[in-house]
């Protein structure tokens, strides 16, 4: 605070974040700084019981129906990447947030912020891609908005999508429901999307056949819920911040410990190789089209079988368990048998020197 300025009387609270005077990229990285921003600035400001659940979407009781309501913004660079683009990603992302509430998605909205000078052809590709993704998912885009900003003040296209879904009776999915004895599953190999995008990012180009696994997960989730219903305790798509950050959030909210087995986590050879070369930990790399499923132990095998039967879950695996020890923290047994903490990502994951 500037000591020379006179102290004004004000009913406004002082800015609750003192650590950084300006916003850093890491505030949007999905790791600890994002969490601090939410906990110290947004939660106190918007304080209400629905928001407090800190789920992927809000769960609303509306005249007897339980609705899931979620919003997400997409600012990816480059706009087009192997296996997808910002358009399909924006549709999948919000559909998945609804699915992670246990909901069947019903409707989507789309807000487009366009940068002056964007080639009309690029915009058309993005719009077609959104249309295709929405059609395949069977969820219409029913309302929207367009704004244009000056050249240099956007990155081509930014997209916000919001979605509305219906949660079937008997389904109660929430990170707080993870309890000791539960089993942690994932529907396939981790870090594919993040590495596919990184492979074409300016200055980092490397040769790979990797394609983003961006996909909408609600059909897979519906089948999991069909077979295990109430025994499905938590669903979470580990996007920004990766599997490690998602599991840390769940451990903290459930006040339970999580124990992972490094050797059981599915990861493709080429993804592991790229991560090794770039000095990145795949546990912190972003995923799309992946979901963590935490279920009661007795349902685990059946859920695994259903996931493996689905085109988006053929490499599904049991990767860990909820434990009583170390509540709020995630541990991992390393390949050679040692133990370590898997912490939340602090700031952006930075490539190492050597």
């Amino acid at each position: 605070m500037n000591q020379d300025s006179p102290v004004d009387f004000s009913l406004q609270c002082p800015i609750p974040i003192s650590d950084y005077p300006t916003v850093l990229l890491a505030h949007g990285g999905g790791g600890r700084l994002t969490q601090m921003l939410i906990e110290r600035m947004f939660l106190p400001a918007f304080d209400n019981p629905v928001l407090e659940n800190l789920h992927d979407g809000a769960v609303l009781d509306v005249e007897g129906a339980r609705l899931a309501f979620s919003t997400d913004s997409f600012v990816i660079s480059p706009l087009f990447f192997p296996g997808g683009d910002i358009g399909s990603l924006a549709v999948h992302g919000t559909l998945n947030d609804l699915a992670m509430c246990g909901a069947r998605p019903l409707y989507l909205s789309a807000g487009l912020i366009l940068e002056e000078g964007l080639p009309m052809e690029d915009l058309w590709r993005v719009v077609q891609s959104m249309q295709g993704a929405a059609r395949r998912a069977g969820v219409p885009i029913v309302t929207g908005d367009t704004k244009v900003v000056d050249r240099g003040k956007g990155d081509g296209v930014f997209i916000n999508t919001t979605g509305l879904g219906l949660i079937p009776p008997g389904i109660h999915v929430s990170p707080r429901r993870a309890r000791p004895g539960d089993v942690v599953l994932i529907n396939g190999a981790i870090a594919v999307h993040g590495m596919a995008v990184m492979s074409v990012r300016e200055g980092l180009e490397f040769e790979t056949a990797l394609e983003s696994d961006s996909a909408s997960l609600h059909d897979l989730v519906a089948r999991v819920l069909d077979i295990a219903g109430e025994q499905v305790h938590v669903l979470r798509d580990p996007t920004r911040g990766g599997v490690a950050s998602a599991l840390n959030e769940i451990a903290a909210q459930a006040q339970a410990g999580i124990l992972l087995g490094e050797a059981t986590i599915p990861i493709w050879e080429e993804v592991r190789g790229a991560c090794e070369i770039l000095g990145l930990d795949p546990l912190y790399v972003a995923n799309e089209g992946k979901c963590l499923v935490i279920v009661a132990q007795e349902a685990a095998e059946a859920v695994l079988a259903v996931m493996r039967d689905h085109p988006l879950g053929q490499e599904a695996a049991i990767i860990g368990e909820i434990v009583e020890d170390h509540p709020g923290r995630v541990f991992m047994r390393s390949r050679i048998g040692g133990m370590r903490v898997v912490d939340m990502l602090s700031g952006e994951q930075l490539p190492r020197i050597c």
Binding site: T22, A26, R32, I336, G338, M339, V341, R352, I353
Partner: protein, 362 residues
């Protein structure tokens, strides 16, 4: 994955752990020089698998951690200039300078970019002839040949808009500084396999002889480290001091001669400040006079900047192995990866960050 999984086998690891347990008869203190090795040790949990007699001390081999504060301040001063594109390896960006870090400079509008290779910075200079491209040349002998190549190429291309901020450091003088200290506790060394891939290990032989310490050139995978520790303990238990090579799949006694030649063409040995340790004579590389035109300190006239280290941070004692990270009063409280006081909390290779990230708090 080939060349990775072979070195992470649980069954093989257990064999080495057993062999270490069987060989140890009394307490030994071993230092792994390189931060990459510290990272593997903690990430794989090797430190907790060893017999209590074996103490591992984490050495000063993290180039990010030992880069002096005033050089970070110089980097920040240069990166703030509107005509500059400041390029760096990723993990330098969050190292705290006296007042800011490079990520904050970026947030305030500075053009700071992560590159994976110094040659990418040369390409940027070609692409942006109207801008000054500066590369933060940090690292041990491992990165020196690549960075030398960047300067050499820039000279060949006659690029007037490329320069490097040079902070290269050398391993053998640091080992001698540790061994020559009256507080030294280190009885054996794991030398850094990647540095020796470039430099070979002949220069370690007189050190092993003079100070009577075994030095084992060691790789970076869990099994490499377990074998390196086993070989060091074996040498200590049998009273041998010589240089041995665990990392034979990469390291020869002579090293990579063409890489050494290139580094020697562009750089010359100079005295260098190490963050937290102080001046170590002959422990760095600076640009040779014939390449002085590519020296960013001269080009941007920041040579006179000086800086004062945080009095709370005990990075120097940690880098010399006198204290463990969790013995610092600021560890995990006033100093965390989000708000690091000292560089070992910043880099993935820093001992403090490794302890924090993998939960070694007691």
């Amino acid at each position: 994955m080939r060349f990775i999984d072979e070195y992470r086998s649980q069954a093989e690891a257990q064999k080495f752990v057993q062999a270490i347990f069987q060989s140890v008869t009394r307490p030994w203190t071993i230092m792994e020089i390189c931060g990459g090795q510290t990272h593997t040790l903690i990430k794989s949990g090797i430190d907790q698998m060893l017999p209590p007699e074996v103490t591992l001390i984490h050495g000063p081999g993290c180039p990010v951690c030992v880069t002096p504060l005033e050089l970070i301040d110089k980097a920040i001063a240069i990166a703030r200039r509107p005509e500059v594109i400041f390029t760096s390896f990723g993990d330098m960006l969050r190292v705290p300078g006296s007042e800011a870090d490079l990520l904050s400079v970026k947030a305030q509008g500075g053009d700071v970019r992560i590159v994976y290779s110094s040659l990418d910075a040369v390409k940027l200079a070609q692409k942006h002839p109207d801008r000054q491209v500066v590369f933060f040349a940090v690292g041990f002998e491992t990165t020196a040949p690549g960075n030398a190549m960047a300067v050499w190429q820039a000279q060949q291309l006659d690029l007037a808009n490329f320069s490097i901020l040079c902070s290269h450091v050398l391993v053998p003088p640091a080992i001698e500084a540790i061994l020559g200290s009256p507080d030294n506790r280190v009885q054996g060394f794991l030398a850094a396999g990647h540095v020796c891939t470039v430099m070979g290990y002949q220069e370690y032989e007189p050190i092993a002889e003079r100070y009577r310490v075994p030095i084992v050139v060691t790789g970076f995978e869990p099994l490499d480290l377990l074998q390196g520790i086993y070989m060091t303990i074996n040498a200590l238990e049998t009273g041998r001091w010589e240089v041995e090579n665990q990392y034979t799949r990469s390291v020869s006694r002579e090293g990579n001669l063409s890489a050494q030649h290139l580094a020697a063409q562009v750089f010359q040995v100079c005295d260098r400040q190490w963050r937290g340790i102080g001046l170590i004579p002959g422990s760095g590389y600076g640009l040779r006079p014939e390449f002085a035109a590519f020296d960013a300190e001269r080009r941007f006239d920041v040579g006179s900047l000086t800086a004062q280290e945080s009095s709370l941070c005990i990075a120097g004692q940690i880098l010399q192995g006198l204290k463990k990270p969790h013995q610092c009063s600021a560890f995990g409280t006033r100093c965390t990866p989000e708000r690091p006081l000292g560089a070992p909390m910043v880099s993935a290779e820093g001992a403090c960050a490794a302890y924090y990230r993998y939960g070694r708090k007691e």
